[in-house]
Symmetry: C2
Subunit: 299 residues, 2 copies
């Protein structure tokens, strides 16, 4: 067991991002008060903040001026939050609770939830491309960050993964489909977070590729462990309904490979991820710890 | 009556944008075939293509290399298309038809329609920030274009206007609310299109401000004329249900100012818009024609 205080580490970066939300997401007009409340509600609804931590951790391999990365770490979390709000909608997964709290549409209604998601998605790009907010980021870095975010999360990325996930739920799925879903729905955004650290830290193209590949592997391992925990944990341990994947006929790794092979695959991915980091010194230790945390976590 | 062939003019630029969609929006993976179809369905569902025409027309004041502007004109139309798909959803305006065709969710289902909208919104930023696709646009221009698009269409822009519109439908609205809704929901994106032309054409800050103000005025006039046509036209003339604004208790200009004052206001706005263009020579004629078209149009 690692002696690295992962909870404290994630909490530290999570707080930085929440401070940014608090300052940046102030209400600005009485006509959009409800929208602002809905956006803030989901931004502050908790979560591991693993994506911001990955941005900061990957960035830390190259530079130490972490506040420079904050708007970008926050933007990624905004984008992740939008995807959760839309995923939970009645037309999609129809979830009433997330992390023990009522989902956005249960509190604010479906229309506002759709628009809060749209607003957060748009805001992620606004934050990344705001030159006043990011005086130490060059336009070249901004464009690369925004372009790769869009590529990772649009129809060829996360949104495509979500569509494939819904289709799979309706009927047949095989190993290739599950791989497609997991890599697109989860891994690509996590890989982007890691590559983003290299972009912001003026890493080389090799650095970017390496961090991206590291992120793809821990991302897929993250999702496989999620699938396994859904089967092996209790609802209490998870903080959400255990066994819901099987009940909903979800396309998961254990469903096509079994639990044992799934676990081995996750371990292999983490080994590969760590191997990719071997060219870096101890500035990459947080990334190493995150990789280990992903396979050891219990919820 | 103007002898400028506006239908042919809009059709010409609309075709350029559709050609871009055709080439750029090819299906790329069998797992996301349905998503791709849904995105294409709404992109090719017609419409006046007034936003792309504004981008090209404003750009034409400064430079004549129009193909440079095509990905940006297309990106704006993608963003506009996403907003229509989401606006039509059952939880929002619940419309079954748009321009005589079944709305996206009627054809592809709600979940896919939400994701097609998300995909198109994301794609707009992907297209704008793609350096391979836009070799003649500088990173500075890209960042400015992407940032201002996000600002014009997010919670402080179009999405905020849509929230205010829905709230107003539920109850009381006054002249200030209608102004807020129209400027945010419609004018800001049209103003952005005009400013974008100046950004792409290396216009000065004064040019950008001027084109933005021109766009705000024709945008508001456009919406006021829409409101008036909803009352004074037949369903046949409009190609959509006439009188639906009144039936739905929509916050409109005629509802708070009456038809006559609304028409006068629209005329005044067009006069101001034309006055703003007075510093330009005949390269601004298409922008002048669009302003006149907006007030003279019958559907």
């Amino acid at each position: 067991m690692s002696r690295f205080d992962m909870k404290g580490y994630l909490g530290f970066w999570g707080q930085k991002v929440e401070d940014f939300f608090e300052e940046y997401m102030q209400p600005h007009d009485p006509h959009t008060k409800g929208l602002n409340e809905a956006m803030r509600y989901s931004l502050f609804a908790g979560g591991k903040r693993i994506r911001p931590a990955l941005v900061y951790s990957a960035y830390g391999i190259f530079e130490g001026y972490f506040d420079k990365a904050t708007p970008y770490a926050a933007a990624v979390e905004m984008l992740h939050t939008y995807s959760l709000i839309h995923d939970d909608l009645p037309a999609m997964d129809d979830d009433d609770f997330r992390r023990g709290k009522p989902t956005n549409h249960k509190v604010f209604g479906e229309a506002t939830a759709i628009l809060a998601g749209d607003g957060l998605l748009t805001k992620a790009f606004e934050v990344m491309c705001d030159r006043n907010l990011n005086p130490d980021i060059t336009p070249e870095q901004m464009v690369e960050a925004a372009y790769k975010l869009a590529a990772a999360t649009g129809d060829k990325g996360m949104v495509g993964g979500q569509v494939a996930d819904m289709d799979a739920e309706k009927g047949f799925f095989d190993a290739a489909t599950v791989d497609f879903i997991h890599t697109h729905k989860t891994s690509r955004l996590l890989a982007y977070c890691c590559e983003l650290g290299a972009i912001l830290g003026f890493g080389t193209e090799d650095d970017k590729r390496r961090l991206y590949e590291y992120g793809m592997r821990i991302g897929l391992a993250f999702q496989i462990v999620d699938d396994i925990l859904d089967i092996t944990s209790t609802t209490e341990e998870l903080g959400k309904d255990a066994g819901s994947d099987v009940a909903n006929g979800k396309a998961t790794y254990p469903a096509v490979h079994g639990i044992e092979d799934s676990h081995r695959k996750a371990e292999l991915l983490i080994e590969e991820a760590l191997e990719l980091l071997s060219v870096y010194g101890n500035t990459a230790d947080p990334c190493r710890e995150i990789a280990k945390f992903i396979i050891e976590r219990k919820n």
